[in-house]
Amino acid sequence: MKKLTRNQIFWPLVALIVLLIYNAFFAKNFFKISVVDGHLYGNLIDILKNFAPLALLSIGMTLVIATGGVDISVGSVVAISGAIACSIIDGRLGIFNHSLVSALVSALLSGLACGLWNGFLVAKVKIQPMVATLILLTAGRGIAQLITKGKIVTINSAPMMKEYYFIGAGYLLGLPFALYIVIAFLFLVLLLVKRTAFGLFLQSLGINSKSSMLSGINVDRIKLVVYTISGFLASIAGILISSNIKGADCNNAGLFIELDAILSVAIGGNSLNGGKFMVQASIVGALFVQCLTTTVYALGVPPEAISLLKAIVIIVLCLFQSDSFRQRVFKGFKRSVKGADAA
């Protein structure tokens, strides 16, 4: 039992289950799943579909945070990648002739390039991660706007629209296609982390980068790779999001999603100071965040107020992760016990 509670993924799972139980009692039909148009339909399926972009980002963010860094530019990368993909499919760029494949490849390449740029600034120029990624955060939406020529691109009537829409909103074997993408990348990243020494090196450099370097680990290269992965995954998230709304909205696509991704990582019990990490736990964290959003919708609270709930979740989580807070609370508890003894 003790071993179970000590597992990092235990508490995030508990939080998720508590939230689900709450919904079982207070949200009508939350667990109802029906079959519509040959695929499953219901709140839970919706959660699985909508959490895909966040899940992908939180995978990348987990790795970045493990190095002791942070990538606050992912939301902008989402916007750029969506803008590129939709603009090509829409044909407004006048290149690639509406081709779906070139749209996807270009979008993914843009993510790779953004990630490489961040990694270059952090690993080679040695700029603090927060500042380095701030540059792309600031520029990213502007770049996306320039690609779409300042318009919201809708691809409702584009030739490859159906195929593109399938990626983010389609269903395969009854389940959202996006979910399969998440599972595939989770699997790939886990393979990298568990079946190569990448995970060990990542943790090691996140805990003590000097020691790691002197043990022969190429710290800079690993950082570069990690930011590139994060950028790449962000571009996939961008494709999913734009496909789901059949268009690219540079102002709002992925807005503040970097904060949700960081939140997911934190809820997953990963230390934001770097070091030990668990990708699966972050996925559970992302699921929790998405579930929270859906719950709020289901309860009829104004959806904008969801940030209030997130704030509370962050505060509670951080306070319980904070040693000095626990010490204080514990001390106070001890003192009152002592007081009771004396009485």
Binding site: T196, A197, Q203, K210, S211, S212, L214, G216, N218, K276
Partner: protein
């Protein structure tokens, strides 16, 4: 001198940290106008005693009186208002602020509700002039070398009109001339009636400047002595205590395979990022080569350059007759080198990782990321070394940060032994380690050399060096002064070489 008025007394001071009795009924007395050296090996309790006195740590038991009145120091601020100021080994000032500001921050003179910068700069200038330092006090502190920064720290301590001045290893980053300068200042301050507590590990300096010596060992008081009437050998005996004999037992381990001198590594005219100048060095197979010299002499810089941690700016480095260019730690490791840094905590262990992961780290890096060592294999390797080096731990899945210093050091040794190196570079491998483990590590070093491994050994403790090394290279001021081997090498000769090197 005995008649001098008593300034500060500490009686029966005790302090326990989880698992360690850091101080056990220690007494300490400081008189007005004296320089009192506080000595002891690492872990003797010197720094804990200082921390208790300056309010950084609270004491569990005991009494402190200043000028006859009992005091209870609550914090470093409080200590300062009482007249107890400290200059720490690592300079605790702010590099981004001006020199003058560093002296006055927190106590700035005000005029019309605003900081009076004119006054600050003027008084800072005066204070530093008093210490024979003449610099532009409006420049930021980090534009000056460490020696000047040290003086600024002292000036700050003095301006608090200290009665008691604590100097914690103030000379470790100063050269001989700067030390002389500092000692003159110390003498001057004493003559003005201040009491100075001088913590250092340079025994010569103790004799040069101190009136009285207090020795601590393992958290207990050994005694208080007049500097004049305590010969150096006896002092060392008191610092090391009865364990001295235990250390001597491995003296015998000197072997005679000096003949087969096959060269493993050579460097010619090496100049590095770490400021090493024109160094020639040869390391033979199966020898223990000592790098002797004071802190900052270039010992650490040498091994860092060989290991690729500092960039080589000029000269040649060859291993087994192949020239190495663009040396990086991973290149060095693949060439068969290993390096234990002197700073175990920040450049050695990876605290939150397990012993197993710590041991496997360098081997895995050597093999490359994709030739992953399976967990079973990892466990096997680490258990093998836990047994071999007698690492005291419940198991290899313990986090390394929970181990004692000595056992952490053994894990780091294991990390390098696992890579099966041909040259192992050990920088202060026995620092801050209990005497028993110290002897064990020395023994391991000698055994490894016997098996044909080359070892570069660095230690501040001369006895240890003399005991372990067959050959010694003496360094000073980032330059090589000479080599000694066989009977030539003894403490006297080395000290003379260093002293001689300085006057050049």
């Amino acid at each position: 001198m005995e008649n001098k008025e008593i300034l500060l007394t500490m009686r029966k001071i005790s302090k326990t940290f989880p698992g360690v009795k850091a101080l056990n009924n220690v007494d300490f007395t400081l008189r007005k106008g004296e320089i009192h050296a506080l000595l002891g090996e690492n872990g003797a309790g010197k720094s804990t005693l200082i921390k208790v006195l300056t309010g950084v740590e609270s004491m569990d038991g005991g009494q402190v009186t200043l000028e006859g009145k009992p005091i209870h120091v609550k914090s470093s601020q409080h200590a300062q208002t009482l007249g107890i100021s400290t200059v720490y080994q690592e300079i605790n000032l702010c590099g981004n602020l001006s020199v003058a500001e560093n002296i006055f921050i927190g106590r700035e003179p005000m005029a019309y509700g605003m900081i009076d910068w004119k006054m600050i700069n003027k008084r800072a200038k005066e204070l530093l002039n008093n210490l024979n330092v003449d610099i532009d006090v409006t420049k930021t502190l980090d534009s000056y070398p460490v020696a000047i920064q040290q003086m600024v720290a002292i000036a700050r301590a003095l301006d608090i009109s200290a009665k008691v001045l604590i100097l914690d290893e103030p000379t470790s980053s100063l050269d001989a001339a700067e030390c002389k300068e500092l000692f003159t200042v110390m003498r001057k301050l004493c003559n003005e009636g201040m009491g100075i507590i001088f913590v250092t590990h340079f025994l010569d300096q103790v004799y040069e400047v101190s009136d009285r010596i207090t020795v601590l060992r393992n958290g207990e008081l050994v005694g208080e002595y007049e500097a004049k009437s305590l010969p150096k050998v006896e002092l060392i005996g008191k610092m090391i205590g009865k364990d001295y004999e235990q250390l001597q037992q491995i003296e015998s381990a000197k072997k005679a395979h000096m003949e087969n001198k096959e060269s493993y590594l050579t460097c010619k005219n090496l100049t590095t990022e770490g400021n090493l100048k024109n160094l020639d060095l040869e390391v033979n197979k199966g020898e223990v080569l000592g790098l002797a010299g004071l802190l900052g002499s270039g010992r650490t810089e040498t091994v860092r350059a060989l290991f690729g941690a500092d960039k080589i700016l000029g000269g040649e480095l060859s291993v087994k007759n192949t020239r190495i260019r663009n040396n990086k730690p991973i290149t060095a490791i693949r060439k068969g080198m290993g390096y234990c840094s002197e700073d175990r905590k920040s450049e050695g262990i990876v605290g939150e990782l397990t012993i197993r992961e710590n041991i496997i780290l360098a081997l895995q890096a050597k093999k490359g990321m994709f030739r992953f060592i399976g967990k079973k294999e990892q466990t096997k390797i680490s258990q093998q070394y836990i047994k071999l080096l007698d690492i005291k731990t419940p198991g290899c899945e313990q986090q390394i940060k929970n181990l004692s210093g000595g056992n952490q050091q053994k894990v780091l040794l294991a990390r390098w032994l696992a890579t099966n190196p041909e040259l192992l570079m050990l920088d202060e491998p026995t620092r801050g380690i209990d005497v028993g483990t110290k002897a064990e590590i020395q023994k391991i070093v000698l055994e490894l050399a016997e098996k044909g491994m080359s070892i570069i050994f660095i230690s501040s403790e001369m006895d240890e060096m003399l005991r372990c090394c067959e050959r010694m290279v003496v360094l000073n001021d980032k330059k090589k002064l000479g080599e000694l081997s066989g009977n030539e090498k003894n403490e006297q000769v080395i000290m003379e070489m260093i002293a001689g090197g300085k006057s050049v």
